[in-house]
Amino acid sequence: MALTEETIQDKIEIVGDYKHVQVRTATVIKRDGVEISRSFSRHVVAPDADITGESAEVQAICAAVHTQAVKDAYAAHLAEQDAD
Protein backbone atom coordinates (compact mmCIF):
# COMPACT_ATOMS: atom_id res chain seq x y z
CA MET A 1 0.00 0.00 0.00
CA ALA A 2 1.46 3.32 -1.06
CA LEU A 3 0.20 6.64 0.21
CA THR A 4 1.09 9.71 -1.81
CA GLU A 5 0.36 13.40 -1.37
CA GLU A 6 0.30 15.98 -4.09
CA THR A 7 -0.52 19.67 -4.11
CA ILE A 8 -2.12 21.24 -7.15
CA GLN A 9 -3.71 24.57 -7.94
CA ASP A 10 -6.99 23.15 -9.20
CA LYS A 11 -8.96 26.37 -9.60
CA ILE A 12 -7.78 29.83 -10.63
CA GLU A 13 -10.49 32.45 -11.11
CA ILE A 14 -10.50 36.10 -12.11
CA VAL A 15 -13.29 37.88 -10.24
CA GLY A 16 -14.65 41.32 -9.48
CA ASP A 17 -14.21 44.81 -10.86
CA TYR A 18 -10.51 44.83 -10.07
CA LYS A 19 -9.64 41.41 -11.46
CA HIS A 20 -8.76 39.74 -8.20
CA VAL A 21 -7.21 36.37 -8.89
CA GLN A 22 -8.62 33.67 -6.62
CA VAL A 23 -6.44 30.60 -6.26
CA ARG A 24 -7.56 27.30 -4.79
CA THR A 25 -4.86 24.84 -3.84
CA ALA A 26 -5.89 21.22 -3.39
CA THR A 27 -3.95 18.72 -1.31
CA VAL A 28 -4.75 15.28 -2.63
CA ILE A 29 -3.98 12.08 -0.74
CA LYS A 30 -3.95 8.86 -2.77
CA ARG A 31 -3.73 5.24 -1.73
CA ASP A 32 -2.22 3.10 -4.47
CA GLY A 33 -3.10 5.81 -6.95
CA VAL A 34 -6.74 6.12 -5.84
CA GLU A 35 -7.77 9.45 -4.32
CA ILE A 36 -8.96 9.05 -0.75
CA SER A 37 -8.84 12.65 0.46
CA ARG A 38 -8.89 16.15 -1.00
CA SER A 39 -8.67 19.33 1.07
CA PHE A 40 -8.57 22.94 -0.05
CA SER A 41 -6.64 26.05 0.82
CA ARG A 42 -7.37 29.46 -0.65
CA HIS A 43 -5.71 32.78 -1.27
CA VAL A 44 -6.50 35.83 -3.35
CA VAL A 45 -4.06 37.94 -5.35
CA ALA A 46 -5.06 41.60 -5.46
CA PRO A 47 -3.87 43.94 -8.25
CA ASP A 48 -1.35 45.56 -5.89
CA ALA A 49 0.00 42.30 -4.47
CA ASP A 50 3.59 41.10 -4.59
CA ILE A 51 3.38 38.09 -6.91
CA THR A 52 6.98 36.92 -6.71
CA GLY A 53 5.99 33.99 -4.53
CA GLU A 54 3.15 32.87 -6.80
CA SER A 55 3.29 29.99 -9.24
CA ALA A 56 4.36 30.72 -12.80
CA GLU A 57 0.78 30.18 -13.98
CA VAL A 58 -0.66 32.66 -11.48
CA GLN A 59 2.09 35.16 -12.26
CA ALA A 60 1.25 34.92 -15.96
CA ILE A 61 -2.46 35.44 -15.30
CA CYS A 62 -1.77 38.41 -13.02
CA ALA A 63 0.53 39.93 -15.63
CA ALA A 64 -2.25 39.63 -18.19
CA VAL A 65 -5.16 40.99 -16.17
CA HIS A 66 -3.54 43.37 -13.70
CA THR A 67 -2.91 46.09 -16.24
CA GLN A 68 -1.84 49.54 -15.16
CA ALA A 69 -5.40 50.73 -15.69
CA VAL A 70 -6.69 48.04 -13.32
CA LYS A 71 -3.99 48.82 -10.76
CA ASP A 72 -4.79 52.54 -10.92
CA ALA A 73 -8.51 51.90 -10.55
CA TYR A 74 -7.90 49.59 -7.60
CA ALA A 75 -5.62 52.14 -5.93
CA ALA A 76 -8.31 54.79 -6.36
CA HIS A 77 -10.86 52.39 -4.88
CA LEU A 78 -8.67 51.74 -1.84
CA ALA A 79 -8.09 55.46 -1.35
CA GLU A 80 -11.84 55.99 -1.44
CA GLN A 81 -12.30 53.26 1.19
CA ASP A 82 -9.72 54.88 3.46
CA ALA A 83 -11.45 58.22 3.11
CA ASP A 84 -14.80 56.84 4.25
Binding site: F40, S41, R42
Partner: protein, 167 residues
Protein backbone atom coordinates in the same frame (compact mmCIF):
# COMPACT_ATOMS: atom_id res chain seq x y z
CA UNK B 1 -48.34 15.82 1.74
CA UNK B 2 -45.57 14.86 -0.65
CA UNK B 3 -43.06 12.23 0.40
CA UNK B 4 -39.34 12.94 0.12
CA UNK B 5 -37.52 10.67 -2.28
CA UNK B 6 -34.40 8.87 -1.11
CA UNK B 7 -31.62 9.84 -3.52
CA UNK B 8 -28.98 7.55 -2.06
CA UNK B 9 -29.48 5.12 -4.93
CA UNK B 10 -27.95 7.81 -7.15
CA UNK B 11 -24.66 7.50 -5.31
CA UNK B 12 -22.02 6.39 -7.84
CA UNK B 13 -19.80 4.64 -5.30
CA UNK B 14 -22.41 3.36 -2.86
CA UNK B 15 -21.32 5.76 -0.13
CA UNK B 16 -24.65 7.54 -0.06
CA UNK B 17 -23.03 10.72 -1.36
CA UNK B 18 -24.59 12.27 -4.45
CA UNK B 19 -22.48 14.27 -6.86
CA UNK B 20 -24.22 17.20 -8.51
CA UNK B 21 -21.99 18.63 -11.18
CA UNK B 22 -24.07 21.77 -11.59
CA UNK B 23 -26.38 23.17 -8.96
CA UNK B 24 -29.71 22.56 -7.30
CA UNK B 25 -32.77 24.80 -7.61
CA UNK B 26 -34.46 25.27 -4.25
CA UNK B 27 -37.95 26.71 -4.02
CA UNK B 28 -38.08 27.88 -7.62
CA UNK B 29 -36.30 27.76 -10.94
CA UNK B 30 -34.92 31.30 -11.10
CA UNK B 31 -31.23 32.07 -10.93
CA UNK B 32 -31.82 33.40 -7.42
CA UNK B 33 -32.95 29.90 -6.37
CA UNK B 34 -29.83 28.13 -7.61
CA UNK B 35 -27.42 26.73 -5.04
CA UNK B 36 -24.33 25.76 -7.01
CA UNK B 37 -21.40 25.78 -4.62
CA UNK B 38 -20.32 24.38 -1.29
CA UNK B 39 -16.74 24.31 -0.11
CA UNK B 40 -14.76 24.08 3.12
CA UNK B 41 -11.10 24.87 3.42
CA UNK B 42 -8.32 26.88 4.98
CA UNK B 43 -6.45 30.07 4.26
CA UNK B 44 -3.59 31.93 5.88
CA UNK B 45 -4.83 35.21 7.34
CA UNK B 46 -2.19 37.93 7.59
CA UNK B 47 -2.23 41.51 8.78
CA UNK B 48 -1.37 44.04 6.11
CA UNK B 49 1.18 45.74 8.34
CA UNK B 50 4.86 45.60 7.38
CA UNK B 51 6.10 45.81 10.95
CA UNK B 52 4.39 42.74 12.35
CA UNK B 53 5.71 39.32 13.27
CA UNK B 54 3.14 36.58 12.85
CA UNK B 55 3.90 33.53 14.97
CA UNK B 56 0.78 31.54 14.05
CA UNK B 57 -1.90 32.03 11.41
CA UNK B 58 -4.95 29.80 11.18
CA UNK B 59 -7.96 30.39 8.99
CA UNK B 60 -10.93 28.24 8.07
CA UNK B 61 -13.84 29.04 5.79
CA UNK B 62 -17.17 27.57 4.74
CA UNK B 63 -18.73 28.77 1.50
CA UNK B 64 -22.39 28.07 0.78
CA UNK B 65 -23.42 29.58 -2.51
CA UNK B 66 -22.11 33.14 -2.31
CA UNK B 67 -22.18 33.23 1.48
CA UNK B 68 -18.71 32.93 3.03
CA UNK B 69 -18.18 32.37 6.74
CA UNK B 70 -14.62 32.79 7.98
CA UNK B 71 -12.92 32.34 11.29
CA UNK B 72 -9.31 33.11 11.96
CA UNK B 73 -6.75 33.06 14.71
CA UNK B 74 -3.62 35.15 14.38
CA UNK B 75 -0.85 35.22 16.96
CA UNK B 76 1.73 38.00 16.85
CA UNK B 77 4.91 38.39 18.86
CA UNK B 78 5.26 42.01 17.86
CA UNK B 79 3.04 44.52 16.13
CA UNK B 80 3.53 48.22 15.58
CA UNK B 81 0.80 49.83 17.66
CA UNK B 82 1.97 53.30 16.69
CA UNK B 83 1.00 52.79 13.05
CA UNK B 84 -2.06 54.85 12.14
CA UNK B 85 -3.15 52.72 9.18
CA UNK B 86 -6.32 50.67 9.31
CA UNK B 87 -6.38 47.13 10.64
CA UNK B 88 -6.81 44.86 7.66
CA UNK B 89 -6.19 41.26 6.83
CA UNK B 90 -6.53 39.05 3.79
CA UNK B 91 -9.72 37.09 3.11
CA UNK B 92 -9.97 33.80 1.20
CA UNK B 93 -12.48 35.09 -1.38
CA UNK B 94 -13.24 38.34 -3.14
CA UNK B 95 -16.27 40.18 -1.79
CA UNK B 96 -19.21 41.32 -3.83
CA UNK B 97 -18.80 44.76 -2.33
CA UNK B 98 -19.52 47.30 -5.04
CA UNK B 99 -21.87 50.20 -4.37
CA UNK B 100 -24.74 48.48 -6.13
CA UNK B 101 -24.20 45.37 -4.01
CA UNK B 102 -24.73 47.30 -0.80
CA UNK B 103 -21.19 47.14 0.50
CA UNK B 104 -19.48 44.31 2.31
CA UNK B 105 -20.90 44.75 5.77
CA UNK B 106 -20.03 42.02 8.20
CA UNK B 107 -19.45 41.38 11.88
CA UNK B 108 -16.21 41.15 13.75
CA UNK B 109 -15.42 39.59 17.08
CA UNK B 110 -12.32 38.62 18.92
CA UNK B 111 -11.20 37.00 22.12
CA UNK B 112 -7.62 37.68 23.01
CA UNK B 113 -7.68 35.01 25.74
CA UNK B 114 -4.25 35.50 27.27
CA UNK B 115 -3.76 39.21 26.86
CA UNK B 116 -5.70 42.37 26.28
CA UNK B 117 -5.61 43.87 22.84
CA UNK B 118 -7.61 46.33 20.82
CA UNK B 119 -9.45 48.57 23.31
CA UNK B 120 -8.19 46.73 26.38
CA UNK B 121 -10.97 44.18 26.77
CA UNK B 122 -10.77 40.43 26.25
CA UNK B 123 -13.67 40.19 23.84
CA UNK B 124 -15.41 42.72 21.73
CA UNK B 125 -17.55 43.20 18.68
CA UNK B 126 -16.85 45.81 16.07
CA UNK B 127 -18.22 46.82 12.76
CA UNK B 128 -16.22 45.59 9.80
CA UNK B 129 -16.41 45.13 6.07
CA UNK B 130 -14.80 43.17 3.29
CA UNK B 131 -13.83 44.93 0.09
CA UNK B 132 -11.99 43.06 -2.59
CA UNK B 133 -10.14 40.42 -0.60
CA UNK B 134 -9.48 42.75 2.33
CA UNK B 135 -11.22 42.43 5.68
CA UNK B 136 -11.17 45.73 7.57
CA UNK B 137 -12.30 46.70 11.04
CA UNK B 138 -14.17 49.89 11.82
CA UNK B 139 -14.13 51.87 15.05
CA UNK B 140 -16.91 53.46 17.06
CA UNK B 141 -16.68 56.78 15.25
CA UNK B 142 -17.29 55.42 11.77
CA UNK B 143 -13.72 55.25 10.54
CA UNK B 144 -11.33 52.37 10.17
CA UNK B 145 -9.83 51.06 13.39
CA UNK B 146 -6.10 51.57 13.28
CA UNK B 147 -3.21 49.59 14.67
CA UNK B 148 -2.46 52.59 16.89
CA UNK B 149 -5.65 51.80 18.80
CA UNK B 150 -4.19 48.52 20.02
CA UNK B 151 -3.14 48.60 23.64
CA UNK B 152 -0.45 45.93 23.42
CA UNK B 153 2.21 44.84 20.97
CA UNK B 154 1.77 41.07 21.17
CA UNK B 155 -1.00 38.58 21.69
CA UNK B 156 -3.76 36.63 20.03
CA UNK B 157 -6.48 37.85 17.70
CA UNK B 158 -9.52 35.79 16.86
CA UNK B 159 -11.98 36.83 14.19
CA UNK B 160 -15.25 35.62 12.79
CA UNK B 161 -16.82 37.32 9.82
CA UNK B 162 -19.33 36.71 7.08
CA UNK B 163 -19.63 38.27 3.66
CA UNK B 164 -21.02 37.74 0.19
CA UNK B 165 -18.54 36.60 -2.46
CA UNK B 166 -18.57 37.67 -6.11
CA UNK B 167 -19.45 34.18 -7.34
Amino acid sequence: MSRARDLSDLSPDGSGNVLVGGGVFLGGTGSANLLDDYEEGTWTPAFNLVTVTHTAQYGRYVKIGRLVYCKARIEVSSIDNTDGSGIQLSAPFTANSGTAQGGGATAFAYDSQTSTLMDGSHADVHGAYVTGNTFAVTNDTGGNMSYSQLTQTSGIFQFAFTFEATT
